[in-house]
């Protein structure tokens, strides 16, 4: 790791000031992505602004059907929240399968979506739930937020404060883990809104990162059942190929995981 300066922010405003006062500063939340990257000398922020002690980023609330998860909420907190389990158990299930217990007690939802790893789990939930990403400056629809591999709509210095979404009528997540990293080789989040329309988002498989699958959405909007996925065509041409899985294999996994996600919903 290269030498770096550590700052502990006490509020969002404080964090923004600290971040803007040096040219190569970065926020750190759980540090589960950023710190390993720094240890491998692949990232070299001059300053780290620690968001873990910012109270405004914490907490889960459910008001009626509106769900709000603070950016600083850990995966373990999401996995075990009784309120969330009642409103959207699928997101608890998703969080409970991220990494290992150490990672889940450190890593945060804000860090995960800000990082937008193409194999991370949360981005698929945000897209499928039609979530809104609340930042210190604005609100961004998930559809506009995830812009590419490790790319988001966040401006330099912009902080994810929370995510909000309407509790779905039904939702499910099925993940086929990469055998080595246990990130998603393919993960599919399916959500049925109260109006019956379905949204389906796929992580781990797309060569441009997380994406929605129109064919699966149409099929499931017409008929919300595991069988409905059978006739859908999944085109392999925009999918990733690597030593763990070919694009064809991932195309198959998209279908199988979609089917299992609906069955689990």
């Amino acid at each position: 790791m290269y030498a770096t300066n550590y700052h502990r922010a006490s509020s969002i405003a404080d964090a923004v000031t600290l971040q803007s006062s040096s040219d190569e500063a970065k926020y750190v939340s759980g540090g589960m992505t950023l710190i390993p990257t720094m240890k491998q000398r692949l990232a070299a922020p001059s300053d780290l602004v620690d968001l873990r002690h910012v109270g405004e980023l914490k907490g889960i609330s459910v008001n009626g059907s509106r769900v709000r998860i603070g950016a600083g909420t850990t995966h373990a907190e999401v996995a075990t929240s009784a309120e969330l389990k009642a409103a959207c158990p699928a997101i608890c299930h998703l969080a409970s399968h991220i990494g290992d217990p150490h990672v889940r007690h450190m890593g945060t939802i804000g860090g995960s979506i800000a990082n937008n790893d193409p194999a991370a789990d949360y981005p698929s939930a945000m897209l499928a739930l039609g979530a809104t990403i609340v930042t210190n400056a604005r609100e961004i629809l998930a559809d506009d937020f995830f812009t590419g591999l490790f790319e988001t709509a966040l401006e330099d210095g912009e902080i994810v404060v929370a995510v909000t979404f309407d509790a779905p009528a039904k939702a499910g997540y099925a993940k086929f883990p990469n055998p080595a990293s246990r990130y998603a080789m393919t993960g599919v989040f399916v959500a049925k809104a109260s109006d019956g329309s379905a949204r389906v988002a796929v992580t781990g498989a797309g060569s441009d990162g997380v994406f929605r699958h129109a064919g699966l959405e149409q099929a499931l909007s017409a008929n919300w059942s595991a069988d409905a996925t059978a006739g859908v065509d999944v085109d392999a041409s925009n999918l990733l190929s690597d030593i763990h899985g070919s694009a064809d294999y991932r195309a198959n996994l998209v279908k199988v995981m979609a089917k299992r996600a609906v069955a689990a919903a």
Binding site: Y2, R41, F176, P179, A180, S181, I243, Y249, N252, V256
Partner: protein, 783 residues
């Protein structure tokens, strides 16, 4: 057996310090003035070094020295060598290219060292290493051994035209060809044994300390055989003469073979310590370990197995290409020859065998012994082929094996080995019973109802341990003898120190070796200490690998104990005025048989050291040493059965049960033996289903350089193991031990692949059988 003697499940003495985080590993060592080394490594798989500019690095904060390979050459540090001479079938010696500890002209794999920085802190050393500017002329690279043999491929070493190190054979080619021509059935296969990264939990490390006042060197290092390290560094690398070089391998966190070999880094730390005047420590990080630890396996073979009309095997013909990587590692040459082809007879009576092996340079990390070393490759080849033959012949795989088993011993195979004892049927029976083999069809049908494909597969392995009679391995090309040494020191108060040339890095020697002494003298094992791993304490030893510490290391201890016992009895007889032949040792005392006369063990020891009343002419003291040279290899064998369930939609394979029925000869501590089997099977499952080193075939970049891409087995990848023993004592060593350290890794891969291919109905599947491969193979079978 006593509660602490031979056969007892004694909890490991060493575990207290390990479990409490108080182990002392090389990286824990710290000496005054110590500095840190960071290596500058080649980012290219193959390149000429045009220039190395260290000026910017030298000016960086904390930098003590930036050293290069030319300086090392000028200081007379020698090439790294391979210590086992193999001759090609045309009689020519193997073609060894030069391996410099730090390359100064050509780099041949990604990770090849080109310079080393010594600095006050590790961070400063790494910063400065990044500031070293190396100008490369990048050359084309080749990573596949099969391809490297083709015309027009990049050439690695001028000494080895066509990248061919040797073209070796064993067995009778004519007899084998004739039997194949006359066969009723011939099973033919191409078999790939995947390349593995060893991944001990503790990465390699070295601390070099040069003492200018004494002109003496001390090297702490992660070694399975510190004496061999000293010998090689002294005799071949010109680091220092043996009396000026102390090598200490303290606690070592696993090796699996990869810490047998002497690598550039320990040589560099010693040399850099002298050149820069400070002690120098280097510890590998995990990616450095993936890049530079010697890998294992990496064979591509074709095989023909011939059968007569009664399904008896009449011949086996094998052609193997073995990838050696960029340089010849210390024992690399022996692995695909005498540790591999000599085991191709398996458990079967095969009248004619011929194997041809070509060893090949490629632009990859070195390849050498890894848990099993050659024997997993042989077992996989034989057991996949027998299984395939059973399918082709339409006979039960158990019956085909059974009808070809060797049943009388000793048995001379056509490939050197003389099997001394075994009962293959007993292990087969035990395994089939434990696995409820006959109930499998019902379980398969039940799984099918759930949409799952269930399969079962077996593997009957044999291996050779206790390597080995020195004269025999010498005649086969080994540069060293493979005996072991021991010294037993009885202190004046009766406590006992056992000095051994074996080295424990996970095997539990501090417990099992002490059990041996406890059994012999009836003393508590807490009064017995095992001393190992330091060339200043133990005079000489050959170290631990090839499951030799029990069969060879303990046999040396037994010889030394015999001498101690003889002298102790003489002293006791003198003290009790009895005849020496009437003295028996029981429960920590020396007694005159049939009387109530007794001398406690400690009193006898005290008498030896006070020397007030010893038999006339006897030297004071009680300390005896012995060297033991084995009479033969030992031959552990067994039968493993795997039952799996494949999810055809995803190709995910679940291991439902894994049964291991082993013959290890006599067992000192069953708990430790079971632990060895569990660990070995975990590695075998890793090879069969999870692990595989991948290089980019064009650029030679290592694609599996971290755990993000290299799949290490995890607890939830493994079932609970069903382990049993059907032991036949080894007739060739005093304890009847065969060895158990590698069997799990040797026997398990073919059982798993036989089970998975049985489940999916497609025999065309290579290791590791990842979900994607199994899915594709299952789909191909269904279409």
């Amino acid at each position: 057996m006593g509660v602490e003697g031979i056969g007892a499940r004694v909890a490991r003495k060493e575990d207290k310090r390990f479990l409490m985080g108080q182990g002392r590993y090389t990286d824990d060592m710290s000496v005054p003035g110590m500095r840190y080394a960071a290596f500058v490594r080649s980012p290219h798989a193959h390149a000429k070094i045009k220039s190395i500019d260290t000026s910017a690095a030298e000016d960086m904060p904390g930098v003590v020295a930036v050293l290069n390979g030319k300086q090392m050459l000028d200081d007379g540090i020698g090439n790294l060598i391979c210590g086992w001479m193999i001759h090609s079938k045309d009689g020519s010696p193997m073609k060894m290219g030069a391996w410099r500890p730090i390359a100064h002209e050509t780099v041949r794999y990604v990770g090849d060292a080109v310079a080393v920085v010594v600095a006050d802190t590790l961070g400063e050393a790494r910063d400065a290493a990044e500031a070293v500017v190396v100008d490369y002329d990048v050359l084309p690279a080749v990573t596949s051994a099969v391809k490297a043999l083709e015309a027009g491929q990049p050439q690695l070493h001028p000494e080895a035209p066509g990248n061919l190190i040797y073209d070796w054979q064993i067995g009778d080619a004519d007899a084998t060809d004739a039997a194949i021509a006359a066969a009723a059935h011939v099973t033919e296969m191409t078999i790939v044994n995947n390349r593995l990264a060893p991944n001990p939990m503790e990465p390699r490390a070295a601390l070099g300390i040069y003492d200018s006042a004494e002109d003496h060197y001390t090297c702490y290092t992660t070694s399975q055989n510190p004496h061999v390290a000293r010998l090689v560094m002294s005799a071949f690398y010109n680091v220092a003469p043996e009396n000026k070089l102390r090598v200490i391998a303290p606690d070592v966190g696993g090796g699996f073979g990869s810490k047998i070999f002497i690598y550039p880094e320990e040589i560099v730390c010693l040399w850099a310590s002298k050149r820069s005047g400070v002690p120098v420590k280097w510890t590998s990080d995990r990616t450095e370990a993936f890049l530079t630890d010697a890998h294992g396996r990496d064979h591509v073979s074709t095989v023909k197995m011939a059968f007569d009309a009664n399904n008896r095997i009449t011949a086996l013909k094998v052609d193997t290409i073995a990838n050696f990587g960029a340089y010849m590692s210390l024992f690399s040459s022996s692995v695909p020859t005498y540790l591999y082809a000599t085991l191709l007879s398996g458990q079967y009576n095969i009248p004619a065998i011929h194997a041809n092996v070509r060893a090949v340079y490629t632009n990859t990390a070195t390849v050498d012994a890894y848990r099993g070393a050659g024997r997993p490759e042989a077992t996989y080849l034989v057991e996949r082929t027998v299984e395939t033959a059973a399918r082709e012949l339409g006979v039960s795989p158990a019956e085909l094996r059974r009808s070809n088993f060797i049943r009388s011993f000793p048995h001379q195979t056509p490939v050197i080995m003389n099997y001394d004892a075994g009962d293959y049927e007993a292990s087969l029976e035990a395994a089939m019973k434990a696995a409820d083999w006959n109930g499998f069809p019902a379980r398969k049908a039940e799984a099918a109802n759930r949409g799952m494909k269930r399969g079962i597969g077996m593997s009957c392995y044999i291996e050779a341990c206790g390597i080995a009679p020195s004269a025999a391995v010498g005649s086969l090309g080994a540069g060293v003898g493979l005996w072991e040494s021991a010294e037993v020191r009885v202190n004046a108060v009766g406590t006992i120190e056992v000095l051994t040339g074996s080295h424990s890095h996970g095997q539990g020697h501090e417990t099992t070796f002490a059990q041996l002494v406890a059994e012999r003298f009836g003393v508590p094992i807490d009064s017995v200490s095992i001393v190992h791993g330091d060339t200043d304490k133990v005079q000489m030893g050959m170290g631990t690998y090839g499951s030799r510490s029990g069969a060879v290391g303990m046999s040396a201890i037994v010889k030394a104990l015999d001498k101690v016992e003889a002298k102790a009895k003489k002293i006791a007889a003198h003290l009790m005025e009895a005849d020496e032949s009437d003295i028996v040792i029981e429960n920590g005392a020396l007694k005159v048989a049939g009387t109530d006369k007794t001398v406690p063990w400690f009193q006898m020891a005290l008498a030896a050291y006070t020397a007030h009343n010893l038999p006339a002419g006897m030297e004071p003291g009680l300390k005896e040493g012995a060297f033991y040279d084995p009479a033969n290899f030992t031959f552990p064998a067994g039968c493993y059965i795997a039952e799996v369930e494949v999810d055809p939609e995803t190709g995910k394979t679940k291991i439902i049960q894994f049964v291991a029925a082993d013959d290890f000869g006599n067992i000192i501590n069953p708990m430790i033996v079971e632990g060895q089997v569990h660990g070995g099977i975990a590695q075998g499952i890793g090879q069969a289903m999870l692990e595989g080193v991948h290089y980019d075939p064009e650029t030679g970049q290592l694609l599996t350089a971290s755990y993000m891409d290299y799949t290490m087995p995890r607890a939830d990848d493994l079932p609970s193991f069903n382990v049993s023993h059907q032991n036949t004592p080894c007739p060739n060593n005093p304890l009847g031990i065969k060895g158990c350290g590698e069997a799990g890794a040797i026997g398990s891969p073919p059982a798993l692949i036989n089970a998975i291919t049985d489940a999916i109905g497609n025999n065309d599947l290579s290791m590791p059988a990842t979900p994607q491969k199994v899915w594709a193979a299952a789909r191909a079978a269904a279409n």
